[in-house]
Symmetry: C2
Subunit: 312 residues, 2 copies
């Protein structure tokens, strides 16, 4: 059987036809252009048909369409999405009136976890977490071989690492994502630039035309002291939440995804592993967790959405 996976982003919809091995056979992309839930369901259906056509496959080869949404979902229901005005929308039912296939919904972090679990960094595990470092921190959990999805979907980006710290959009203070998301890294970088006019951070940022998540890592690779301090402090914050997550769940593997995860191993993964080795409870017995880089990159969303039916 084949599955269709749709990655719903803030600006684009990307659909892929995916086989049982997680290989993408064809991809189609359209702008989001949101004009209400009805029209959105119709767009998902049309996009599904377009990707089938592009691959020369037939409707009866496909058993469901999976969609990864940037928000909270449960079953075929959209509960709440921050950047697309939908709340308590029965998207699965709406979709069915345009295309006779079940629509499975997952949030984007959960889809990343499903994709990596079957086809990437989580292969050969049963207990697995993906931590996606982006605008916020998205965490997807596979526990005992099943996705923690729907109403139980993890919001581990909102574990507090600093009691009474930075305010978060969620209403709490001190959430992990306020310190260890790409957004937070950019904030730390800008603070260091303001404090260190001599730093190479300025020339690196000027070349890119903007401060990005990678700015600090690039300047640090040139040996810049202020940039090295930013990277060190960022990794400490990242480790603070990662070790907490690991202590709560003791997974076999935690995979880091998102743009920041592409940073040089010596500046991100190596110091992170050192802190984890020192601080994780595994030192006192029980399972030690491996920390690795996610493998699927931008395809994780499509592949994960397509394989949702195998994990829920």
């Amino acid at each position: 059987m084949l599955h269709i996976g749709i990655d719903v982003g803030g600006t684009n919809l990307k659909a892929g036809l995916v086989d049982e091995q997680g290989r993408i056979l064809a991809v189609k992309r359209v702008p989001l252009d949101f004009q209400g839930p009805e029209r959105f369901a119709k767009t998902l259906a049309e996009l599904s048909e377009a990707v089938l056509l592009a691959a020369g496959a037939r409707m009866e080869d496909v058993d469901y369409v999976g969609a990864g949404m940037p928000g909270a979902v449960s079953g075929g229901q959209v509960l709440f999405i921050t950047n697309i005005p939908m709340q308590n929308v029965p998207l699965g039912d709406l979709f069915r009136s345009y295309l006779d296939l079940p629509l499975l919904l997952g949030n984007d972090a959960d889809c990343a976890a499903v994709g990596e679990y079957f086809c990437g960094a989580g292969r050969d595990t049963r207990d697995f977490a993906v931590v996606t470092l982006g605008t916020g921190i998205g965490v997807g959990l596979i526990l005992d071989g099943r996705l923690r999805g729907g109403v139980a979907s993890s919001e581990a980006g909102h574990l507090t690492i600093c009691h009474g710290g930075e305010p978060c959009n969620c209403g709490r203070r001190g959430c992990w994502e306020q310190y260890a998301s790409a957004t937070a890294l950019i904030r730390l970088t800008k603070e260091a630039m303001a404090a260190h006019p001599e730093s190479a951070l300025h020339s690196v940022a000027a070349k890119d035309g903007t401060v990005e998540g990678r700015t600090a890592f690039q300047a640090a690779e040139q040996g810049d002291a202020a940039a090295l301090a930013v990277c060190r402090s960022y990794v400490e914050y990242l480790a603070s939440g990662a070790v907490s997550l690991i202590n709560v769940l003791r997974p076999e593997v935690v995979a880091l995804g998102g743009g920041v995860a592409a940073a040089p191993e010596a500046l991100l993964l190596e110091p992170l592993r050192q802190i984890a080795e020192r601080e994780c409870f595994a030192g006192h017995g029980g399972r030690a967790t491996r920390i690795v880089r996610a493998e699927l990159g931008n395809d994780a969303g499509i592949i994960g959405a397509a394989l949702l039916g195998r994990a829920i």
Copy 2:
């Protein structure tokens, strides 16, 4: 079928014969008196026979013995115990040479979760956590109806709530249990006593002959300002970790156990629920978690150990 559950504490072993409904039919207790793993396995076997005898039951009515241990275990193996010198001991095998029954091991927090799940505050749930507030914070998780036990047993007491904060025995800084265990509450109480010689905390502590977890709650019930501040600050720390745990796992119910959980509802559970309602991610969609008091008290250990076989 009947099961034997043994609660292994730092000073005593308590064994109970337990039926399928979690009712305790007989209890036997002996001092720990640890003299090596071999002798310990023999004591567990003798205690099992003694509780059978006390209940007038036969060996063939029992299918296994479960033991709740104050440390890390996996299968029939003791990995590490803080207060009893055993490390990597095949306790199940040793036990079997004295009594022909399987010995299942769980850690004490996990046994509390199993007991409450089948017979207490976790009845009618599939996703459930018990948080035991004692010397440290022990957390047991039932996810999708299965215990997260053995090598995956939760150490959520060691999630950081204060990055760079109080040092913890585990090697980290800022662990939740350094702020919200009974031990931490006693520390907060003593600090308030030192700062407020006029506080009713002094007279309450004098009456008990010592500062205990309940000292602050008792003085707060008399309207003492310093005691009220201690309770408020304690609940904020408790909430900090509890909301993080809830955001990571979105369980249906979190039950608080241990002596501190017996504090007056208006001073502990009510303000805790208010903070959780305000701060949990459920406000943005997904499942809201109920916070309740654990129900089984001191019997949770025996009942949970006895029912281990149904949860793993």
